[in-house]
Amino acid sequence: MKTKYVLTFPNEAVEEPITYRLVKDFDLRLNILRAQIDEKGGKMVLELDGPAEMIKKGIQLLKSKKVEVRSIEEGVRKDEDKCTQCGVCVSICPVAALVLDKKSLKIVFDEEKCVVCGLCIDACPATAMELLL
């Protein structure tokens, strides 16, 4: 099971190596998609991979450390009404989450692959890509 979360760190949680504990204690595979944290706290977009039970425990740990946890169904949204199917985003996306479907010639967005890096947001001339964090 793979799920993405937005974590908001208060300043008191910054000192602790919490992500290390997620790996060590619960054997979770984690992927930090975005992080903006300094001594005052900050935000992180984290993907957790592991058994549902372990993910649940990991989240409990985060919450016990006063880290605010919000699961995200989607980090980036493609507005189909605005999109002109041009494909500027295709070569910008580092993980091929945006691809040209050779048959329909439409630009297909694969939510699963998206790492919420945000590179496509300002690259889209039709302003069809929105960052939802």
Binding site: T84, Q85, V88, I92, I107, P125, A126
Partner: protein, 395 residues
């Protein structure tokens, strides 16, 4: 070009269109037919081939006539939703350009966005100032306009529909924001903007059937080719199949904005560059003879263009390599030994949609093929702007 045995005339084609018996194919369908059944058979069977393109066309704008106020005003400066519009024309005419920005340089709302709002039927705020004359005493006005209130709203684009264009990449170590989109450092990506084999002017490389007066699909309505486009360059080096290997011909196009649709007229923001307008253009190509059929059978693999490093801030950049559109559309090209992902700036999906729509119009007898009133001069020199003396300018 050799003399060709004529297969059909414009008059014959139009007669068939009027009786709804014309055989019309999109460029994609026609090329497949040539591949399957051969050129001679395709040329014999098909009367008209439809093409399309939908991309950023910066040299675009709309000419508006607001009607006269009471008392009348000779508008000297005009703003539409805060976007300055050129008003140095009589009293109540103004031209709003797609790339015009407001004083704050907000690139998310420029002239192109006002044009899209108009097309969507929205009201736009008009503000004008004047110095006042005996015949036009009013000195300022604020009002609202829409396509319903203005007398004319004419989309008149001095340079659209480039016949081929450069591929942009970035060899520097910083991100570039260009009219060719966001270019990642160290040859991180490459962008191209021609639709290749389905693009109008690559199917008639020598402008045999496209000239002044040609009726076209423009922004979802019927429009016309008004003139050669600015920066028209007919002397670009060509491949044996006639297609130019760099940016070449262009078109000035004109049409009634009131009849257009936001499906085919879209405002664009090129981040940190400015605004532009995506314009949908479709062109019918009459298969007059075997030569026209051959032109329309050209494939992506046989259309070439140059790749340029846009970090080179010069008028004439050095070409890194030549590529064909089959390579570009494959999603990856090689530049200096590196595999570089490619992006199309123009919508291939919309280009196909336009060629299909135009095919429908012709098949239903709603769109006739107009022979050019005058063809373009392909031999004219394409000139640069140099810093000259007053005397040097007239030499």
């Amino acid at each position: 070009m050799a003399e060709e045995k004529q297969l059909r005339t414009y008059a014959e084609i139009n007669k068939k269109i009027e009786s709804k018996t014309a055989s019309v194919m999109t460029a994609e369908e026609f090329k497949a037919k040539v591949a399957g059944e051969g050129l001679a058979k395709a040329a014999k069977d098909v009367d008209v081939v439809t093409t399309g393109t939908f991309g950023a066309m910066c040299s675009s704008g709309v000419l508006l006539n607001f009607g006269h106020s009471d008392p009348p005003i000779k508008m000297q400066k005009v703003w539409l939703d805060d976007i300055p519009s050129y008003a140095g024309l009589a009293a109540v005419d103004a031209y709003i350009g797609a790339t015009e920005l407001d004083e704050s340089l907000n690139m998310f709302h420029g002239g192109a966005h006002v044009i899209e709002d108009l097309v969507r039927g929205k009201a736009v705020k008009l503000r004008a100032v004047a110095y006042g004359t005996d015949c036009y005493p009013k000195r300022d006005i604020e009002s609202w306009i829409s396509l319903k209130t203005v007398n004319q709203a004419v989309l008149f684009n001095p340079r659209n529909c480039y016949q081929n264009y450069a591929v942009a990449t970035n060899g520097s170590n910083r991100m570039l924001y260009t009219y060719m989109g966001k270019l990642l450092p160290d040859y991180g990506n490459a962008t191209f903007c021609s639709a290749g084999e389905i693009s109008p002017l690559l199917n008639d490389p020598y402008f045999r059937t496209v000239g002044i007066g040609t009726r076209i699909f423009l922004g979802g309505a019927q429009g016309y080719v008004a003139w050669e486009g600015t920066q028209f360059n007919g002397k670009t080096p060509r491949s044996p199949n006639g297609t130019p290997r760099r940016s070449a011909g262009t078109l000035a196009v004109i049409g009634d904005l009131k009849k257009m649709s936001a499906e085919y007229i879209r405002a664009l923001t090129m981040f940190k560059y400015g605004t532009s307008l995506s314009v949908g253009i479709g062109m019918p190509i009459p298969v007059l003879d075997l030569e026209m059929a051959k032109f329309c059978s050209v494939r992506d693999a046989d259309i070439y263009t140059g790749v340029f490093d846009y970090s080179e801030q010069k008028r004439s950049r050095t070409v890194l390599r030549e590529v064909n559109y089959a390579e570009l559309k494959s999603g990856q090209i090689e530049i200096k030994g590196k595999k570089v992902p490619t992006s199309s700036l123009s919508s291939l999906y919309k280009a196909r949609q336009i060629s299909n729509e135009l095919k429908r119009w012709i098949s239903r007898g709603q769109f006739l093929i107009q022979e050019p009133v005058q063809r373009f001069d392909l031999d004219r020199e394409f000139k640069p702007l140099d810093v000259r003396t007053k005397e040097g300018a007239c030499k």
